[in-house]
Symmetry: C2
Amino acid sequence: MKYPKGSKKVIRSTTSNEKIATYGNRGMDLEKEINETNQYYLEKDIAVIYKKPTPIKVVKMANTKTQQGIIKEAFFEMPSTTDYNGIYKLKYIDFEAKETLSETSFPLNNIHQHQIDHIRRIHHHGGICFLIVRFKKLNLTYLLFAKDFLHFIDENKRKSIPLEYFKIKGHLIKDKFLPRVDYLSIIDQEGCNYDAVEKD
Amino acid sequence: MKYPKGSKKVIRSTTSNEKIATYGNRGMDLEKEINETNQYYLEKDIAVIYKKPTPIKVVKMANTKTQQGIIKEAFFEMPSTTDYNGIYKLKYIDFEAKETLSETSFPLNNIHQHQIDHIRRIHHHGGICFLIVRFKKLNLTYLLFAKDFLHFIDENKRKSIPLEYFKIKGHLIKDKFLPRVDYLSIIDQEGCNYDAVEKD
């Protein structure tokens, strides 16, 4: 599935030297790596977590018999929730994954208001909710729990979350061969604390 | 969002007298009623449950600047999971909703193999998983837990589940004004038993 805006934007915003460096380091895209990770969790019977399809508004269907069922005009819509959800150790899991080219902070315009509202609701209902944020140029991937994400946006008027905040409050997800982005290992480490935090 | 096959099929398979009767009785479609119910649960802060978008395979994007971001050719894809999931009282909720015009049984070709595999996984991982099946002409809507659904398909070679099975093993969801399809009331009634059942 190809998004209207995406990797192209990345290429445009870098010089050609940077482009090569970025390409050299970047390996697969975060989304692809997380999908592979989820597939691994599924096959090993560890968790059942899927990326939701991107919502699409269909404007026109083909009207000839030979083309029946073919969509002839449609738009990508803004999702009202995060991209990933599922079940792990009886718990509801819910998260959003984003990459940034910035080396200093994660721009908050990456997460729109509907998604913030959703994250707040899931956190309030006791789901395990978080962001996975990759600083591509630094090759650093952090998990930031909803609690810490919401705390930041409620207490700050900044339009981006500094890398420093991820270093202090986030959890580094180390690169692995299999699974690629082993975010459930962070949940395992933090799981007991997480329950306690929920009752705050 | 308009599906390539759907309500049209319903109309085609009835005579015109039947059509009027069906239209008279049917009220809203089940999907629409469930979406409204989920919206009610969300607004009342009872649960956070969404329908997943229908997966679409994009074949061609518009290539002119004025039409940037417009999908020019795409297909609906077979979903690999059920349509609805979310969180209720700290539990992972997962279900599929289907209507049938049959007055005697629910045809199993309504649920494809990927979905059965998914239902089995969620049940195994301890999620609250079920089908909501509406017999439109009878104006009866049942909730059938994964345990009972899987028991039927594992023990039978029949290509449909008889209405009688829903009457015995299913749970009738009574029509209400608000919310329309109050399926969580069944979870509340059966919740305690459900946990016990999980440990079978």
